[in-house]
């Protein structure tokens, strides 16, 4: 049973201030980059301390989950500010101004080969961020697949495809068809953050991915069909709550989940930890690690 933390991680108060200062012309891009590197080093240290199995770079430079790929792709731009689900955060919708083609793949993070994960938008999520001006199929073939190949060549151990819309808006058939266009060199997790996965979970049992990520702060445990064929990446940290989870409660919950007989269980936050302050995100990761250690190694939580 692995534990890891995909998605955009919380920026420290220092990095926040640096980015604010940059916007106001009070500091330099180099100073912001220095602050970001310090944050990333701190994040790696926290993940190591928590005993997480895979390391993430926290996407600390990303303004939203779609922006890095949108900016790296010819024919795409980002402009209209759009509310991200039911949060008080926004992303910039993807504008399609030409035939999309990934210009240069995003660089791999400076993490040990074979021990890091990458988070990308799932094809249908990317298409929805483009408001239908792009099909999921095109997003998969022209943008996400070449990016995944680049990450695979750089030693990525797991690719997490985030789809914050699927659980809410449906479209499983289109999502699954587009996922079928992606390379399978690296294990794939389709993550459904911040949504009740009940309506789509069963259909995703046949999806060409290795695991499905479920937010169990929006999804009842009973929504997981008995004997589910895929691994469940269980969102057991509430990434939208400041309340700190009790590792014992996580353990009891996971034991009930395991009893339902899924193809496997791993532990993740319910969504991107950028929705809580960094101080809280860090403590949550440590608690995730304690729960995982107890579940796998019998270490007291």
């Amino acid at each position: 049973m692995q534990a890891y933390a995909p998605g955009i991680y919380a920026r420290s108060e220092e990095l926040i201030q640096a980015t604010r200062d940059l916007d106001r012309g009070r500091t330099t891009p180099e100073a912001v980059e220095d602050a970001r590197e310090r944050d990333m080093a701190e994040l790696v240290a926290v993940q190591e301390e928590a005993g997480l199995d895979l390391l993430a770079d926290g996407m600390l430079g990303a303004q939203d989950i779609f922006r890095p790929l949108a900016e790296a792709t010819e024919g795409l731009d980002a402009r209209p500010l759009t509310r991200f689900l039911d949060t008080n955060t926004f992303y910039r919708a993807v504008l399609v101004a030409g035939t999309p083609r990934l210009r240069t793949p995003l660089p791999a993070p400076d993490l040990p080969a074979g021990r890091w994960l990458a988070t990308l938008p799932a094809p249908l999520a990317f298409a929805r961020a483009a408001r239908g001006a792009l099909t999921a199929q095109t997003a998969a073939e022209a943008i996400i697949a070449p990016q995944m190949e680049a990450f695979a060549a750089a030693g990525c151990a797991l690719i997490v495809l985030g789809d914050p819309f699927l659980a809410r808006e449906g479209g499983v058939d289109e999502a699954v068809a587009a996922l079928g266009e992606l390379p399978r060199d690296v294990p794939l997790l389709l993550h459904l953050p911040f949504g009740d996965a009940t309506p789509v979970l069963e259909a995703l049992g046949d999806a060409p991915v290795d695991a499905v990520g479920v937010d169990f702060y929006a999804t009842a445990l009973e929504a997981v069909p008995e004997g589910y064929p895929k691994e469940i990446a269980a969102g057991v940290l509430d990434a939208r709550s400041s309340a700190l989870e009790d590792p014992e409660e996580i353990i009891r919950f996971v034991e009930r989940l395991v009893d339902r007989g899924p193809g496997g269980v791993s532990l993740i936050p319910s969504g991107d930890l950028q929705f809580v302050p960094e101080r809280i995100a860090r403590e949550k990761l440590l608690r995730l690690g304690r729960a995982r250690a107890t579940l796998t190694e019998g270490v007291p939580a």
Partner: protein
Amino acid sequence: MTSDVRFPTREIGSLAKPSWRVKPFAGRPLEEGDIAEAERWGERLEVDGFDRLVEHLRQDELDLPEIDHWAARYALRLLERAGLDVVYDGEQRRTEMYDHVAGFARGFEVRGTVRSFDNKYYRKAAVVERPAADGPQDVDEYRFVVEHTDREVKVPLTGAYTMEDWSYDEHYAHEGALGSSAERRYEARSRFVTDVAERVIRPNVVGLVEAGCDWIQIDEPAAATKPDEVPLVVLGFNAALAGVEAEKKSMHICFSDYSALWPSVLELEDCLELQLEFANRDSRELGTRDEDRPGYADTLRLFKEHGYPGVGLGVLDIHSDFVEPAVLVRDRILYAVSVLDDPTRIQVNPDCGLRTRSWDVVYEKLANMVEGARLAEDVLNKASAPAAQRL
């Protein structure tokens, strides 16, 4: 006989705070450029006695409340000089719409800073016990405004649902949240909204109305973000305002899927209008056909179909320095009239508060908004005038 069409123009709420206001509150020294800005805008807006402000800033002789007074006066004058019919103080005294309330009411504790978008952030609190306020929060602010303007005044207040939605919950639904049912989560949120509406916002509303305020605007930017919770938005609005003798009650919502609002918003009691963001999602090309106005078409049809409430038409994109030409504002208004077929249901405003834009950009945008409203009125009034008058 047909009376002339008139589109009242208003702001929504916040303006950027001038650096000569921000730095003293942050404990940072003023530089000559900050003082020069106070002088430049004082002259441009013809703020009474601005030279005294400039001198006091130079001598570092003002305390923080006095600086707040000046910032409120400057903001008021900016809105007046831009030509708005309805004004307030640009929320110069408020830290930010959420923090303003969370920092005042009991029951909230700040947890830290989280991102809103790009490099914009806000402080976020957790509710740790039933929220309550010991009295009205904004009465002094309101009294200052009415003492310094002869325009109509509209007071923006953060709504109960947004306070609930933007807070962490460490009180109502924390225990047993992992793997729990949607019904249980909804019930906890309903209790949270009701408590904020009745115990925090309503005392403020009552105090404002007793002080003479006759227009309360409830800001609910979170309103449509959870479609199945729109009834909670209505619950919060009605619980805060029911029975209150304000002449006008309205609600501002932005950056959301507005299709989720109906039919629940039909239950809003005595709501003059919904002031919505439209321009952000619209084309910048001129025109009054459906295809020219993609940001307006679908939502305006909902207003038309349901007949309630009125429309506060967002015509300025608050997240861009692009200054909408008056003719673009005109076309957005004329398009809305063509869909609703009732200009009396339309008033004109920016998409949202303009706090992320510089005062130079804000002034140009607002002035063009007012001019665009006049252009639209001219078109409609000429069209409805008897032929002899049109000659």
